[in-house]
């Protein structure tokens, strides 16, 4: 390649990710001049909008931050609000919440692996051509995704913006027949999981190694989806209530989502971080699958996030089956938790499909929300994604713009960004460049 050749990669509106983001890479010869992942989603002001609403509406409203991880927002919101109001959920409630979360994680991971990631490996633009060429694969993906959604339907009332989980507990309980049917379907999904693992084991993930700090929640002796501690891959442990000390929001000019770094540098959250940090607590089946997929912690190739999602899918299926077993053994009890509104302040964190989600609220004496702070997994990952893009650029630029573009798009997709979630317009003080978020004024659909 000529040393003065300029390679520009510009992808306006990356497809097969949730929301609206652009990739910009500018290189002259072998020198990489500029790398950006621009977020151009419309800002939605959730933290402002929550003020003045009653505490019980926080889960309902914040659920609407994101359709894909709506249950995750509900559960983080409930956890924060219960901490603010001094409510302790029952063991039964915690089991049902974990089951609800597993349903969402299964549907989200399957959607990502099959619909958003797989087309790149099969050389097609979407899953739609695969309906003709690989109908069995598409039908298998849909079956597995439906199982995840149906768990949410049974526990929460519906898959997107569930109804039954509220501050204090549940307004509705599944009946025994529904739980038995779900358990049967979880038993029967084995062959689909095996075929999925075989399919992804046959795909070669791009080679790329870029270690970073991995953060995930920690709870006592189990794979953590709920927890009061933040575990770092470097061994640090931070209480969730002090999350602001560990998870620091940073300002960048080109993204309507805040960038976040730890007290040291950029970090990664999500399936790769969780499997790396919590490998020993995975179900036996999930550990087995990790071996089949060539995953041994710590894996520091971000493209393996999708592989980690498949390992988690197996874990979620196993754990969901175990939870249903416990619920059936114990018989469900109708609980009528009473929650009294009073002044308070609380933080809650939950591991949602894309990583650790933090909600924080202040509530006044009448139970009206006075303050809200929401830290979204994708926002936490953006700085690390850009750091990866900088590290990746020198090796893919010499292959030409098309190859570089595909490698960059695949990297973005591996992170499974949920851009609607993370929108937060930030301006870098003292930076005289035009904020790239101004590009959100693009007019052409």
């Amino acid at each position: 390649m000529n040393k003065t050749t300029t390679v520009d990669v510009k992808v306006d509106y990356v497809s097969r990710v949730e929301g609206h983001g652009n990739i910009v890479v500018v290189a002259k010869g072998e020198e990489v001049k500029e790398v950006r992942f621009e977020v151009t989603e419309p800002p939605r002001f959730f933290e402002s909008m929550l003020r003045g609403r009653t505490y019980d509406q926080a889960p309902l409203i914040t659920s609407r931050i994101c359709g894909i991880c709506s249950n995750g927002h509900v559960l983080a919101s409930i956890t924060a609000m219960e901490n603010a109001l001094g409510v302790t959920p029952s063991d039964q409630t915690m089991l049902l919440r974990r089951l609800l979360l597993h349903g969402e994680t299964i549907q989200s991971h399957v959607l990502h692996a099959y619909f958003l990631v797989a087309p790149d490996f099969l050389g097609v633009g979407s899953v739609i051509p695969l309906v003709q060429t690989h109908p069995d694969v598409v039908k298998r993906a849909l079956r597995m995704k439906k199982l995840g959604n149906d768990i949410c339907d049974v526990i929460g009332g519906r898959a997107v913006h569930q109804i039954a989980a509220v501050v204090g507990g549940f307004t509705h309980l599944p009946d025994r027949a529904q739980l038995l049917e779900l358990r049967q379907r979880l038993d029967d999904v084995g062959p689909d999981l095996e075929a999925t693992v075989a399919l992804f084991a046959s795909l070669t993930m791009p080679e790329f190694d870029h270690p970073t700090e991995y953060l995930s929640l920690k709870s006592a002796a189990m794979y953590a989806y709920f927890g009061d501690l933040i575990l770092s891959s470097n061994g640090d442990i931070t209480p969730v209530r002090h999350y602001r000390e560990k998870v620091k929001e940073r300002v960048v000019p080109h993204s309507s989502a805040k960038h976040v770094s730890s007290d040291k540098d950029t970090f990664m959250v999500g399936a790769l971080a969780r499997v790396n940090n919590g490998f020993q607590y995975l179900s036996d089946g999930a550990k087995q699958v990790a071996g089949d997929l060539g995953f041994a912690p710590y894996v520091t190739n971000p493209y393996f996030n999708t592989v980690a999602q498949l390992i988690e899918t197996v874990h979620c299926v196993d754990d969901a089956r175990a939870i249903i077993g416990t619920l059936l053994d114990n018989e469900l009890i109708i609980e009528r938790p009473s929650v009294e509104a009073h002044e308070g302040h609380g933080v809650g964190a939950v591991e949602v499909p894309r990583g650790t989600l933090y909600h924080e609220y202040g509530v006044d004496r009448q139970g009206h929300i006075t303050d809200a702070n929401l830290i979204i997994p994708t926002g936490q990952n953006l700085a690390n994604l850009e750091s990866d893009m900088w590290a990746l650029a020198p090796s893919v630029i010499p292959k030409g713009a098309d190859a570089a573009q595909l490698a960059m798009e695949m990297l973005v997709r591996a992170y499974d960004p949920c851009i609607s979630c993370s929108t937060h317009v930030i301006y870098l003080d003292g930076d005289n460049r035009v904020p790239r978020a101004a590009r959100q004024q693009e007019a052409t659909p």
């Binding site: 949730e18 909008m49 894909i68 519906r158």
Partner: protein
């Protein structure tokens, strides 16, 4: 739906559908992908021309445009006008696009203050205007209501479009379906509920799961607003709290059409 449009659609063999996103959570698009049992068959009957969340291929040629999300930026106005020019039919997908849904919550605050609260002194770089439904900018042919849309209703609307019929969106209130399900009324469970004035078609799913109706589908045809307001007042709600009931999902029309006496275009 105007007759010429029905005729135009009847001549289509395989309508091209485009799905666009404005300020929203993308949950209604996701509900399309959540039609797991029907998606393979659906793809035989329609073609997706534009659906960024699901596919890389794009096209500006489409028959039915479905818009998810509220208009919150001036650029969005131009975007929906362009969509209107290109599409034979335009439909809203979910509550944000009509009547305005959760994005409309910001309309209850001072717009400049909202910007400053989130962005500090630099709010001016990221202009955001009052959240409006798509209907406030362009004429819309059909609405698929709900937060999120109901999968079955989406499929019923697509079926109607394929057959050149008027999409079957009910005009009756949520109470009709709630009674059919033999639910105990939310008011008898110590809650308040706006089901009596909210458009049905959801199967009263929220009251059926122990909650109550929050009004996500917009107002029913000919809603008896004075009656619901009196009912809410009888249950101890202040005028401010009654307004909050409206503005949760209807924060454009409720604030623009004379406050509480909100009247919503059908």
């Amino acid at each position: 739906m105007p007759e010429p449009m029905i005729e135009a659609l009847q001549t289509l063999k395989r309508p091209r559908i485009a799905v666009f996103e404005l300020a929203s959570c993308a949950g209604c698009q996701l509900q399309i992908l959540n039609c797991e049992d029907e998606l393979v068959d659906l793809l035989q009957l329609v073609e997706f021309a534009y659906f960024k969340e699901a596919m890389s291929e794009t096209s500006d040629v489409y028959d039915l445009a479905l818009i998810e999300g509220a208009v919150t930026r001036e650029a969005d106005e131009q975007k929906v006008r362009t969509i209107r020019e290109r599409a034979k039919l335009v439909g809203t997908l979910g509550s944000c696009a009509f009547p305005v849904g959760i994005p409309g919550l910001k309309n209850t605050h001072d717009q400049d203050e909202v910007g400053r609260h989130v962005y500090g002194d630099h709010a001016g770089y990221f202009p955001s205007i009052e959240a409006r439904p798509v209907d406030a900018v362009i004429p819309v042919d059909l609405h698929i209501p709900g937060c999120p849309i109901h999968k079955d209703e989406f499929l019923r609307v697509v079926t109607a479009v394929l057959m050149g019929r008027k999409p079957p969106i009910p005009g009756y209130p949520v109470c009709v379906e709630c009674r059919l399900k033999e639910n105990v009324c939310a008011y008898d469970r110590g809650l308040v509920c706006v089901g009596p004035v909210t458009r049905g078609g959801c199967g009263a799913i929220c009251p059926s799961f122990g909650s109550r109706c929050y009004g996500c589908r917009g107002l029913a045809d000919d809603p008896n607003l004075p009656s619901i307001e009196a009912l809410l007042e009888d249950h101890g709600l202040s005028r401010e709290e009654i307004l909050a009931e409206y503005t949760l999902y209807n924060g454009y029309y409720a604030l623009h059409n004379g406050g509480l006496k909100a009247k919503v275009a059908k």
